[in-house]
Structures are given as C-alpha cells and as structure tokens.
C-alpha cells in the first residue's frame, strides 16, 4: 500500500506545466497565425478566434471583433496545433437542437400562436467543435447550478483518463490528436454554438 502511495505522490509532484518555447519561436508562430487570420478576414464569413493566452474567444467577421467572450478555464491535450486556420467539420452535442417544420396554413388567422422557433436558449452549452486535422474543442459551461456542478465534477476526472488514453491510442496509430477543453459562461457557450456554422474558420492562439 505504501508503495502505491509513493508512486501516486511521485506522479502528482512531477506533473508540471509545459515548457515554453523561446520568444523567437513564439513570434514566428504568432505571425503565421496572424497571417492565417488575415486570410480568413478576406472572406465575408464569421470565424472564431481562441486566444488561450488572453483567455478569450472572439467571434469575428472581416477582422472586426463582433463579440468577445471570456474563457473561464481551459485544458490542452495532445500534440501542439499547427500554425494554421482550422475549419469546423461539425458540432457535436448530446442533444442537438432541431428545426421546427412549419405546417402550411397553420399560421393564418392565428393571433394567439405560440412562438415555435430556434432561439439562443435552445442551444446546448455542453458540446464539442470537431475541426479538420482531428482537433476537438470541447465546450462546457461554468458550474452555475448544482446539476452542472455535479456534471463538471464527474467529467474532469474522466477526461484525465480518456484524453491520455486517446493520445496514446493515436500515437500508436501515428495520427495527430489534439483536444482542448474550454469552460465558458453558459450563455457564452450557447452563443458560440449559435453563431458558428459548419466550415467556419477557427484560429487558436496558444497560451
């Protein structure tokens, strides 16, 4: 039993932050990312910029910042991201919002109708953006109530098991694997899900 305890403490106290690269390499990478962002800004579409150093997520179009959302916390797993813009392949959520199908003739002369629409509040706050290049950005809400607090409490230790296992599995397959777990306010998480369409550009500035 003592041996197990010793191993546990050795592992915990050895775990430290990632070694930082030198300033030159950081500038080189950041410049390349800025160039990638300028390329995205040439198009009229909305794109997303995660700045993990400033802990912000910004919705942008043509370089203009439309909305800046604070990141409460994040955890980065796997190989470093390439210094390029990624594109959203799909949004993955347990309960994905569905569109209402309008029945012809139903709306006519109906003053007391109930609003059947897809609104921001219908968006999930716990989901993942699956990007090209096998990159997964998982979004979850900051614990604001008991239920989300409990879910977060269970999800973190599970991620510390599943993420390294996925890293190991992908390393065996010689495939890149990167996962970023991001914590946002619930409404901010819903805003990101709402605003980003498939094939939107995503730029991630590293911490």
């Amino acid at each position: 039993m003592m041996r197990w305890g010793l191993i546990f403490f050795l592992i915990v106290f050895n775990a430290g932050p990632a070694p930082a690269g030198n300033d030159k390499e950081i500038f080189l990478r950041e410049n390349r990312l800025l160039e990638e962002e300028l390329k995205l800004a040439r198009k009229q579409d909305i794109y997303l910029v995660f700045n993990l150093r400033e802990k912000t997520a910004s919705l942008k179009a043509r370089g203009l910042q439309l909305r800046k959302l604070p990141i409460k916390d994040f955890q980065y797993w796997g190989s470093p991201l390439a210094a390029r813009a990624y594109h959203l392949k799909r949004k993955s959520a347990l309960f994905e919002p569905g569109r209402e199908i309008v029945s012809p003739g139903k709306t006519k002369n109906n003053d007391n109708f109930e609003i059947e629409a897809l609104e921001l509040a219908d968006m999930p706050s716990r989901y993942a953006f699956v990007l090209d290049g096998d990159v997964r950005i998982s979004i979850r809400p900051h614990a604001a109530d008991i239920l989300s607090g409990m879910l977060n409490l269970f999800s973190w230790p599970i991620k510390f098991l599943t993420r390294p296992a996925a890293m190991f599995w992908n390393a065996l397959r010689k495939k890149p694997y990167t996962a970023i777990d991001v914590v946002l306010d619930k409404s901010d998480a819903q805003t990101l899900y709402w605003s980003l369409a498939d094939r939107s550009g995503v730029v991630v500035y590293p911490p």
Partner: protein, 215 residues
C-alpha cells in the same frame, strides 16, 4: 468480516489506481504540449532576426486592427436580437430587433423547401426604400395555405414593412413591423424587424454601401 476487509482493500486499491491514472493523465497532458515548436518553421527560424519578427508581428496586428471600419456600420446579434449602430469602436445606438426563426417550410409538392434563417456574415446595404410595399414570395402563400397567384400585382402588400426598408441582398431587408410585441424574439422569415423609432434612426444613419455584420 474477512470478506468486508477484502472488499475495503479492493475499493481502496481501485480508488488509488484511479487517482494514479488520473494523475498520470494530467502529467501526460501537461508535459506533452509544447507551443514553441511549429511545423516547417525550422528553416526560417535561424535566419530571421528577433527584431524583424517583432516588427512583422506589430505590422500584422496593425493590419488586422485596421480592418475595423472608420465609417458607420451595423452589427446584428441574432442570438440576443440586438442591433448596434457603430462607428469605429464606439456604439452610437442600440435597438431590440426580431431575426430569423430557423423554422423550415416544405412545399407540399416536395420540390422546394425554405429555412428561415437570417444570413450570417458581412453584407452591405444595397437598397433603401421609403414606405415600402412587400412583394410576397412563394413561401408566404405556401405558409398560409394559399394558391400562388399568377398575377404579380396580387403579391404586393402595403403597410406591413413599416416606414422604411434597407435591403442587403437576396431578398433580405431591415424593415419595420406590425408585431412590435415580438421584438426581441426569433420570429421572422430571415429579415430583420426593427421598431418604428429605431428603424427611422437606422435609415437616417445608414447609406447605400454601409457595412452590415450579422452573427
């Protein structure tokens, strides 16, 4: 008694194993990430000076910041149903709007379908109308269960778009509404509805070519 002690040991062992694996996971996760290195950068890294890299960084940031329009522009937040009239970083005016419902309508023939989303991205104001009339598209008749008229004059409906309309392409407009109680909700067929007083201010401030950012 013996079984209980065995079970207790087993549980303790499982808990320690779980924590150890978790800690190992944390170790692997934090140790493997190095942001300093990047693909294809090695060849340039030695040649370019640090000051040149920093100067380029400053120039790129300036180029990006310079993309914010100096003239008046409109930002529409379809999630919160808000319209902002802005100049540079300054917000001059804010209004509650209604934007697309996201609903779907299928032609009973099965040949066509419409999704009532407000388009996202950057657009420009292309047309401006005073006391506009609405030329009802096919979906408006299908939605109400009516036959689509062959005479184009029967498509025209007066007084439903308010006092002003600003078109931003593909049949989408910023216009007024009779349903002011629904402002703040996602109820439109893709257009942006604004209250009368706010619409007048938007119409006065936005000219042809004014940029419109919808997200």
């Amino acid at each position: 008694m013996l079984e209980n002690r065995f079970l207790l040991r087993l549980l303790l062992f499982a808990a320690i194993l779980f924590l150890a694996l978790d800690a190992a996971g944390y170790y692997i996760g934090t140790r493997n990430v190095s942001f300093g290195k990047q693909e294809g950068a090695k060849s340039n890294n030695g040649k370019v000076s640090f000051s040149a890299l920093r100067a380029k960084n400053r120039a790129l940031r300036q180029r990006l910041n310079g993309l914010t329009p100096n003239e008046t522009y409109i930002v529409i937040d379809t999630g919160r149903n808000l319209l902002y009239l802005k100049k540079g970083d300054r917000t001059m005016f804010e209004a509650v709007i209604s934007s697309g419902s996201g609903n779907m309508l299928k032609d009973p023939s099965g040949k066509r379908q419409w999704v009532f989303d407000t388009p996202r991205g950057e657009y420009r104001i292309k047309t401006k109308y005073l006391t506009p009339a609405w030329t009802k598209p096919d979906w408006a008749f299908i939605e109400e269960g009516e036959a689509i008229p062959k005479d184009p004059r029967k498509r025209v409906e007066e007084g439903v778009l308010g006092g002003y309309a600003l078109g931003f392409g593909n049949g989408y407009f910023i216009h007024g509404t009779l349903y002011t109680r629904l402002l703040g909700r996602n109820v439109t067929h893709g257009c942006i509805r604004v209250g009368d007083r706010d619409l007048k201010a938007v119409y006065a401030a936005a000219g042809i070519g004014t940029r419109l950012y919808i997200f």
